[in-house]
């Protein structure tokens, strides 16, 4: 029984054409009936379980450029390339190709669902409002769980379990990335300066909480509780890498939009959230800070060591720690966040309803974190998890270094509604919802009406059998006279999306759709 608090009255579309965002989530996957399960096969089979028929390769990888760097260069290799090569060698004996293994699907809601690095990954369609991004993030959970149920029917038991978390407690992390379309007119160095202190302290709102400490490829050191799942895995401020040498601010330059006009900010430091409220504030506050930077905002300070700071803040759930400022003196994570929200009120001149909601909730969360964090149980994941574990520690008379706590931490994120601890809380009415149930179910079937994500999904719904290749920026179809291409690169603002939507809905064939589009655009 989730308590729903909105933002219910918010209009679904902002008039800001570049206000687009999405979330990619890599899920953990486990087979409980065998210790010899092949993770490559398990992830592949899970994705395919969502299909009615056979898998047909349609995803077009030509739009992906992970070696391009926002700082204006291209790297020759990524830190993970050697490990990837090693895995490719190990995977070579399998009786299926790389593309079959990936099993990339584009769903009728415009989302991408595939096997990424042996993790089932769900990428939401592009969204323009917090209401939509939360509904689509939750829709992703439901779609993954439905796939698991179908896979379990084949396996004959409830043996496949999925986890929306970011660590295996043995030093292996997997990500939940949030993405924002940003104007290219903002210099990248201004984005870095404006974002770093905010991102280092964003975990106070969006951390999922974790017991113990880890480091890349090293096991768990039990004891204690920290705010973030990913902080232990942040090794540098800026980098194009994503699997090793992970950065606070990823520099991959892969805009999936007109490269001359836009960047895609690809943030890999975040935790996967179970609380809808935390998802809304994670995306909302980041979007507000990007709006501030677009208006010329520069923070009044820089952090001496952002990487050290993110870990210091994470390891202090009592929120007493301070971190060093380059300009001298120290500052707490709470005060960093306060500086941003206070400046937002001064810098942003045109505050719409959604932005006002974000600012009010942001201020209140910071106040409650300081005064009475338990008010945030069911809203902020790390507070919720800490309360659950603390209750358990007291009831069972165990210590914070007991290994049982890591298992409970993991189970907080279990997608099985009968086992997951978060879902247990939700069932008891102790969580705060943003989405209505009908909105989540709608998001499982349809993309947002005001973004190209919805257009992509509509193409899958209307002409799925005719699609020969598809990706973020466009769709190729088989037509009577040959190949047809729907270029979605510039469908970023609501008006053009609405026009394109009407054309797709009215056309009876891809040919007719492209012809109508050509007439409209001529």
């Amino acid at each position: 029984m989730a308590k729903n608090i909105g933002p219910l009255k918010l209009s679904k579309s902002s008039m800001n054409p570049v206000r687009l965002f999405g979330i990619e989530t890599e899920y953990g996957i486990a087979r409980e009936d065998t210790e010899t399960a092949d993770p490559v096969v398990e992830s592949m089979e899970l994705v395919r379980a969502y299909l009615d028929g056979h898998f047909t390769r349609r995803w077009d990888y030509r739009g992906e450029h992970p070696h391009e760097d926002q700082r204006g260069f291209r790297v020759s290799e990524l830190a993970q390339d050697k490990e990837e090569d090693l895995f490719a060698e190990q995977d070579a004996h399998r009786p299926f190709s790389f593309h079959e293994m990936k099993s990339d699907l584009v769903l009728p809601n415009g989302a991408r669902f595939y096997n990424d690095h042996t993790h089932p990954e769900y990428s939401t369609p592009e969204c323009r409002s917090l209401k939509d991004i939360v509904a689509h993030d939750r829709a992703g959970e439901r779609i993954l769980w439905v796939a698991a149920q179908r896979r379990n029917e084949v396996l004959g038991g409830r043996v496949v379990q999925l986890y929306k978390n970011n660590t295996d407690f043995h030093g292996h992390s997997y990500g939940c990335h949030d993405n924002f379309l940003v104007s290219r007119s903002i210099k990248f160095e201004n984005l870095v300066r404006g974002l770093l202190p905010f991102l280092v302290s964003r975990q106070l709102i969006a951390g999922a909480g974790k017991v113990g400490r880890e480091a890349q490829e090293r096991g768990l050191t039990p004891g204690g509780f920290q705010i973030s799942q990913r902080a232990d895995f942040m090794e540098t401020e800026l980098s194009v890498d994503t699997m090793h040498n992970r950065p606070i601010l990823n520099t991959r330059d892969e805009p999936h939009a007109n490269r001359e006009r836009y960047r895609r900010l690809h943030l890999i430091l975040g935790d996967a959230n179970m609380c809808e409220y935390a998802t809304a504030l994670k995306i909302g506050t980041t979007r507000v800070v990007l709006d501030m930077i677009a208006e010329g905002f520069v923070p009044s300070f820089d952090l001496s060591s952002p990487v050290q700071a993110i870990q210091v803040i994470s390891q202090d759930p009592d929120l007493k720690a301070v971190v060093n400022r380059q300009q001298g003196g120290t500052i707490s994570g709470l005060d960093i966040q306060r500086e941003y929200v206070q400046q937002a009120r001064l810098v942003l001149t045109d505050i719409d309803e959604e932005t006002e909601w974000i600012l009010q909730e942001w201020e209140q969360v910071l106040h409650q974190l300081e005064q009475d964090p338990l008010q945030l149980v069911g809203k902020i994941d790390w507070v919720t998890k800490r309360w659950l574990l603390d209750s358990f520690v007291q009831d069972e008379g165990i210590g914070w270094d007991d290994h049982w706590l890591a298992s409970l931490d993991l189970e907080y994120h279990n997608l099985d509604p009968e086992r997951g601890l978060f879902f247990g809380l939700e069932g008891e009415g102790r969580t705060t919802g943003i989405s209505q149930e009908r909105e989540i179910q709608e998001a499982m079937k349809h993309g947002p009406v005001d973004t190209r994500g919805g257009l992509r999904g509509l193409c899958v719904q209307r002409f799925g059998e005719d699609i020969t290749s598809i990706q973020w920026e466009g769709v190729h179809f088989n037509g009577k006279g040959g190949k047809l291409h729907l270029d979605l690169l510039d469908y970023l603002e609501p008006g053009s999306v609405a026009d394109c939507r009407t054309v797709i809905q009215e056309a009876t064939t891809p040919q007719e759709m492209i012809e109508s589009m050509t007439v409209k655009n001529s």
Partner: protein, 71 residues
């Protein structure tokens, strides 16, 4: 993906009852103690249910859980 309606029926049984509240009709700010969920009570039936669910978790579950590094 014709099966989608069947899926929705399947997951529609998940227990997620709605109690919508409009945040904009009652602005919440620092010091507004009525906003947000109530402090969790100790000894309540729902807390007992949660503890029961937690006690069922295999203490070795995390030890057995292994993943490859992702992004």
């Amino acid at each position: 993906m014709k099966h989608i309606n069947k899926y929705v029926e399947t997951v529609g049984s998940l227990d997620r009852k709605e109690r919508p509240v409009d945040p904009l009709s009652k602005p919440s700010g620092p010091g507004d103690q009525e906003a947000g969920p109530k402090r969790p009570e100790t000894g309540s039936p729902s807390r007992d249910n949660l503890m029961k669910r937690m006690r069922k978790v295999d203490p070795k579950q995390a030890e057995k859980y292994r993943q490859r590094t992702g992004e």
